[in-house]
C-alpha cells in the first residue's frame, strides 16, 4: 500500500464520517433533539451577530443618512398635515356633538311640557348698555312673539319678552334689576318673589314667609301667580338662606339654572294655560249685617 492510497482512504473516510455526521444531525433535527445540543453555540453567535449587525447598520447609515433624513422630513411634514387635519375634524365633531347635545336638551324640554306652544329662537345679540341684562332674539311679532311672553331655555326660565319688532325681539333676562317673578320653593311650596341683581351672578328670593322651611339646594320654580308665567318652570336652586327673627320675611340667594352668558337657542312660550285667577274678578260678597 503506497502513500497515495493511504491519503485517498483518509479523505474518503473523512467525507463518509462527515456525511454520516450530517445524516446524524438530520435525524436529530427531525426528532427535535438538535436544538438543545446547538443552543450553547447559537447564543454567543447571536450576540456576535447582533454586535456586527449594529456596526454594519451604523456604517451603512453614514452613507444612507441624507436620503433617510429627507424621507423622515417628508414623513414628518406628512404626519403634521395629517395631524392638523385630524385636529380640525376633531374640533368640528366636538362642535357637532355640542350642537347635538343642545338639540337633545331642547327636545327633551319641549317633550316634558307639550301643552305649551313654543317658538324656537336664536340669540343674535345682547344689550349695548352694560346697565341692562337683555338679549336680542331672531323672532318677532310676525312669528307670534309679543311683549310679556315668557322665554325659557332647555335648562330653565330665561326671562320675558320686553319689546318686539316684526323680525326680532328683546328679552329681559331674569338677572336684570327690574326683573321680578313670582316663585315658589319645590320642597316647602313657600312662595316669594325672585329679583335680579343686575349682574350675571345669583338672584335674590324675597318675601318668603318666616314659617317656611328654606333649605340650601331647594329647587325654585315659577309659581304662576300673576299669570305672566306658567307654573313650574325651573328658575334655579337655593344656594344660601337668610332668616332673621327681626324681619317679617326670609331671604334666599338663588343660583339660576341657566347660564346667561352661554345662551344660543331659546323657546318663547306663545301660549300656555294661565293660573285661574278669575275668582278675584268677582266682586266680594257683602258681609252680613251685624
Amino acid at each position: 500500500m503506497n502513500l497515495h492510497d493511504t491519503e485517498q482512504r483518509v479523505r474518503s473516510t473523512t467525507i463518509l464520517v462527515l456525511a454520516a455526521l450530517a445524516l446524524f444531525f438530520l435525524v436529530l433535527d427531525s426528532t427535535g433533539n438538535l436544538d438543545s445540543a446547538f443552543a450553547f453555540l447559537r447564543s454567543p453567535v447571536a450576540t456576535v451577530m447582533n454586535w456586527t449587525a449594529g456596526r454594519v447598520d451604523n456604517f451603512a447609515g453614514v452613507f444612507a443618512g441624507p436620503r433617510d433624513l429627507q424621507q423622515a422630513e417628508l414623513r414628518i411634514a406628512e404626519l403634521e398635515a395629517r395631524n392638523a387635519q385630524l385636529e380640525r375634524e376633531n374640533a368640528e365633531l366636538l362642535n357637532r356633538q355640542s350642537d347635538y347635545q343642545l338639540y337633545v336638551e331642547m327636545f327633551n324640554r319641549a317633550s316634558q311640557s307639550p301643552q305649551f306652544e313654543r317658538v324656537t329662537a336664536a340669540v343674535i345679540g345682547r344689550d349695548t348698555s352694560p346697565a341692562f341684562r337683555s338679549i336680542i332674539i331672531d323672532r318677532g311679532t310676525q312669528d307670534g312673539v309679543l311683549p310679556g311672553m315668557p322665554v325659557e331655555s332647555a335648562r330653565g326660565l330665561v326671562g320675558q319678552v320686553f319689546r318686539a319688532s316684526p323680525h326680532a325681539a328683546q328679552v329681559l333676562l331674569l338677572t336684570d334689576n327690574i326683573s321680578s317673578i313670582a316663585a315658589r320653593l319645590s320642597a316647602s311650596r313657600a312662595t316669594g318673589i325672585i329679583f335680579g341683581s343686575g349682574s350675571s351672578g345669583p338672584l335674590t328670593m324675597d318675601w318668603i314667609e318666616q314659617e317656611a322651611q328654606v333649605e340650601v339646594g331647594d329647587v325654585v320654580l315659577t309659581s304662576g301667580l300673576g299669570g305672566k308665567f306658567p307654573q313650574d318652570l325651573v328658575i334655579g336652586r337655593v344656594v344660601d338662606a337668610e332668616r332673621n327673627e327681626a324681619d317679617l320675611f326670609q331671604h334666599a340667594t338663588v343660583q339660576p339654572a341657566v347660564d346667561f352668558e352661554d345662551l344660543e337657542i331659546v323657546f318663547v312660550l306663545t301660549d300656555f294655560e294661565q293660573l285661574d285667577t278669575s275668582i278675584f274678578d268677582e266682586p266680594p260678597e257683602t258681609l252680613p249685617a251685624p
Binding site: 345679540g125 344689550d127 349695548t128 352694560p130 346697565a131 341692562f132 336680542i136 328683546q170 334689576n177 349682574s199
Partner: protein, 166 residues
C-alpha cells in the same frame, strides 16, 4: 358738517351691530368694549362741540335701538357727556397718547353717571351696580381709545383737508 354726516350714520350702524353681537361675546375681565361710545367721544374732541354733539346723538340713538333702556336715554347722556369734554380739550396739552386716554376715560365716566340718573328718572331702576365695574370699564376702554383717536384723526384729515393759501 355734511361730509362727516355721510360717515357717521353707516359707521355707527356698523359699530353698534358689532357691539351688540360680536363684542358682546368677548369680555375683557368682564368688561365689554364700547367702540361706538369711544368714536363719538373722540370725534367731539377732534371736531369740537357742534359735530361732537351730532355724532354723540347718532351714536346714542344707534345704541338705544339695541337696548331695552328708554329710547333717547343714551343719546341724551352721551350728548351731555361729550359737551364738557370739548371745552376741557382746549385746556389740556395736545399729547396724542395721554389726550385721548384722559378724555375718553372722563367721557365714559360722565356718560355712565348721567345715564344712571336718566334711568332712575325714567323709573327703569337704580342701577348702581354698574358703578362697581366702572373703573375697569374706563381703564380698558380708555386703552382702546388711542387707536380709535388716531384713526379718526386720519379720517378728519381726509374729510377736512387743510386749505393752503398760495
Amino acid at each position: 358738517m355734511n361730509r362727516s354726516l355721510y360717515v357717521v350714520i353707516p359707521l355707527m350702524a356698523v359699530l353698534t351691530i358689532l357691539q351688540a353681537t360680536f363684542l358682546a361675546r368677548i369680555s375683557v375681565f368682564d368688561v365689554f368694549l364700547q367702540p361706538a361710545l369711544l368714536v363719538a367721544i373722540a370725534w367731539s374732541i377732534l371736531r369740537g362741540p357742534y359735530e361732537g354733539l351730532i355724532w354723540a346723538f347718532i351714536a346714542g340713538i344707534a345704541l338705544d335701538l339695541f337696548s331695552i333702556g328708554p329710547t333717547g336715554g343714551m343719546a341724551l347722556a352721551l350728548m351731555l357727556a361729550v359737551l364738557p369734554l370739548t371745552y376741557i380739550r382746549q385746556v389740556l396739552p395736545d399729547n396724542p397718547y395721554l389726550f385721548p386716554i384722559l378724555l375718553s376715560g372722563l367721557g365714559i365716566g360722565l356718560f355712565t353717571f348721567i345715564y344712571i340718573l336718566i334711568l332712575a328718572l325714567a323709573q327703569r331702576g337704580i342701577r348702581l351696580n354698574v358703578l362697581v365695574d366702572l373703573p375697569l370699564t374706563i381703564f380698558i376702554n380708555a386703552l382702546l381709545s388711542i387707536p380709535i383717536y388716531w384713526l379718526l384723526r386720519w379720517l378728519s384729515r381726509i374729510l377736512y383737508p387743510r386749505q393752503i393759501e398760495m
